[in-house]
């Protein structure tokens, strides 16, 4: 059986997954930096090395993410929306909603039982509700994001953050600190504010079935807690939430390969 690769070139990080059948052979992640093509190449080579394969042995490569159009070694390119749906569905087959929060954008995707996209809502214009919001606040509070996450995960109370806009929210946080509010309560309030934004987006989608949380921000325990509480539903968290897009891309590479399709037809 052939192996296939998915390459997800995000604005902050590039991820590659190598897949054979239903088994992930290897994956790799590195910062995209200023050279998406170079980063993709390095990441790809790394993943190949870890899988013990040569590029020629692959059955196909699908690229996704913001840099997907520029990857010369990819045979196809598909949007990260379709790939995240596919990848999350593969990991948790009862998934019907994917919440993906990255460094620069956030999306909520509704999918059907086959993992195909029915509808999606995307925010890539406004920093509020994305990883960027956390970065801005981390700076304002002079904390590391991990620190904020653990404080948010254990805080007992939240200070409500009422500003709608990142810039105003930053100002609000500074005022709150000056007024003597507890830092962990502020931080928890910030995480809840993001969750509220995401849910505000998500509510217009069917929201049936299971919800899977992907993207770098899914590693943030404070965000997981906030989403779980505001959603009032359990959340599936992949072991490696950042590579779900690349996984989906690899799955798409394998499912559309003619030989795979032929094999499937024979089975029927």
């Amino acid at each position: 059986m052939r192996a296939f690769a998915g390459v997800d070139v995000g604005s902050l990080c590039t991820k590659v997954v190598i897949l054979r059948g239903e088994e992930v052979l290897s994956w790799s992640l590195r910062r995209t930096g200023a050279d998406p093509v170079g980063a993709a190449r390095c990441c790809f080579d790394e993943a190949l090395a870890r899988a013990g394969l040569q590029e020629g042995e692959l059955g196909g490569v699908v690229a996704t993410g913001y840099g997907r159009l520029r990857i010369p070694f990819a045979s196809r390119q598909v949007t990260e929306i379709t790939c995240h749906a596919r990848g999350a569905h593969f990991l948790f087959p009862k998934t019907r909603t994917v919440i993906d929060i990255g460094g620069q954008d956030a999306k909520v995707i509704a999918l059907d039982e086959r993992g195909k996209v029915l509808d999606f809502v995307m925010n890539d214009k406004c920093a509020a509700g994305t990883g960027r919001f956390l970065e801005v606040m981390a700076q304002a509070l002079e904390m590391e994001i991990e620190e904020m996450a653990s404080e948010a995960a254990t805080a007992l109370k939240a200070v409500p953050i009422s500003s709608m806009c990142t810039v105003f929210a930053e100002s609000e946080v500074i005022s709150l600190v000056a007024e003597g509010s507890r830092r962990d309560e502020i931080v928890w309030g910030l995480h809840r504010a993001i969750a509220r934004r995401i849910l505000g987006m998500a509510k217009r989608l069917p929201m049936k079935g299971e919800v899977t949380f992907t993207g770098g921000v899914a590693k943030n325990r404070g965000m997981v807690r906030a989403l779980r509480e505001l959603l009032g539903m359990p959340l599936n968290i992949p072991h490696e939430p950042q590579i779900v897009g690349a996984l989906g891309a690899a799955l798409l590479a394998s499912s559309t390969s003619p030989s795979v399709r032929a094999a499937e037809r024979l089975k029927i």
Partner: protein, 405 residues
């Protein structure tokens, strides 16, 4: 130099010749029409009246004045990718929260490029910007501002008030400009508009054909432009007749505007990005035909030359984008059925709250009908507010949704 009326007089036949090979006949009429308008507006042999896009331009033709629609000028400026400068200049006065077409016009006014008005008349639909901004313009040029304020919703009572307003505004305009408002002129104008209306009806019917015979991107540019600007004029009649003929020929020959049409979609909102962009080339390449677009929906009833004021009042009151969303919903549902589309793209123009505020509700109504729906945020006039990557991601995801069905 742009401001010399004579320039457009010379330009008109030159462009007609140049475009003979390049473009279809309706397009050439559009260009010729614009030349004549600019010649009149800059030449100043007759009074120039600025109006907004939804003001019934017929009334201005009846008056014998030259109508100038600044929003359309702004979209032309954007089309030639020259809008960045004026938008930045306009942005020093108007907040970037506001519509880029208006910021563009503000900048163009500051640059002194626009043909000065003798009077400004506007109508408060469809948006807050319309009357407020036009009153700013009137102040800028130190001329009077008259405006219509159509009642929300409709009904017979509303009609009485609006009719009164319309008559009052036009009589005032007539008085201030020293131009008589003759019944024969009104009647002639409405006769022409009625011809136009019939041709529009035919065009819209012909466009229901499969494969789609006429590109939505063109519908959104010069066809919508003529729909706003030409009712009541001779060129308007010529244009829509030529458009009807052009499309009829294509339909008879079974010719679609795409080499291979795989899907059909509606484009929602009156505008599209006019500056060079990759939206339509992407859709074309994926075989997704924009079969019809919102601005060309024939929402107004057949004009009645025997009752011109009532007729124009009816037109104003029927506007589906004024009043409650229910009207727009109805119009869009009808379009979806008539054009047999699998999906719709709502272009959410930055700063346009009247339209984007209803986009989600509209989408739900269409999804209930089994359509796929895409919200496409963007900017109609400001290329600086256009993010090709983000736009393409959404369009492509939408294409993938269509393809996976």
């Amino acid at each position: 130099m742009l401001r010399a009326g004579g320039l457009y007089r010379v330009l008109r036949p030159l462009l007609a010749l140049y475009l003979l090979k390049e473009r279809n006949r309706p397009y050439r009429i559009w260009v010729s029409f614009l030349c004549r308008i600019f010649e009149g507006a800059y030449g100043r042999k007759r009074p120039v009246v600025w109006v907004n896009a939804f003001f019934p331009v017929e009334a201005i033709y009846a008056l014998g004045a030259v109508p100038f629609i600044p929003e359309i000028y702004a979209s032309l400026v954007a089309y030639f990718d020259l809008s960045r400068g004026p938008i930045a200049l306009g942005g020093t006065k108007l907040s970037t929260d506001l519509c880029s077409f208006f910021r563009c016009v503000m900048g163009l006014a500051e640059e002194g490029v626009l043909p000065e008005p003798d009077l400004v008349i506007s109508s408060s639909h469809l948006c807050d910007g319309a009357n407020k901004f036009f009153s700013e313009l009137a102040r800028f040029y130190a001329v009077d501002h008259l405006f219509l304020d159509p009642p929300y919703g409709g009904g017979d009572k509303a009609k009485v008030y609006l009719l009164e307003q319309l008559r009052y505004v036009m009589e005032e305009a007539s008085r201030r400009l020293g131009l008589p408002l003759r019944d024969e002129a009104l009647s002639l104008v409405l006769h022409r508009t009625r011809h136009i209306w019939h041709f529009m009806q035919e065009v819209n019917r012909l466009r229901q054909g499969r494969p789609s015979p006429f590109a939505g991107s063109e519908g959104l540019s010069y066809v919508a432009g003529m729909a706003f600007y030409s009712p009541g004029s001779e060129e308007g009649v010529e244009f829509f007749r030529a458009l009807r003929d052009h499309i009829a020929v294509r339909v008879r020959g079974g010719k679609g505007y795409l080499p291979r049409e795989r899907f059909r979609v509606l484009w929602l909102h009156h505008i599209r990005p006019y500056y060079p962009n990759s939206i339509f080339s992407f859709l074309d390449a994926r075989g997704i035909a924009v079969a019809f677009e919102e601005p060309n929906y024939l929402w107004w009833p057949e004009p009645r030359p025997e009752a011109p004021w009532e007729s124009l009042t009816d037109k104003l009151l029927c506007n589906p984008w004024a009043g409650p969303l229910e009207r727009r919903l109805q119009a869009v549902r009808e379009m979806a059925l008539s054009y047999g589309v699998q999906g719709a793209i709502h272009f959410s123009h930055w700063g346009c709250r009247q339209s984007t505020g209803g986009a989600v509700q509209l989408g739900e109504a269409l999804k209930e009908m089994g359509l796929l729906y895409l919200l496409l945020p963007g900017d109609g006039a400001d290329p600086g507010n256009y993010s090709p990557g983000q736009t393409l991601t959404r369009l492509q995801a939408f294409a993938e949704m269509l393809e996976s069905r």
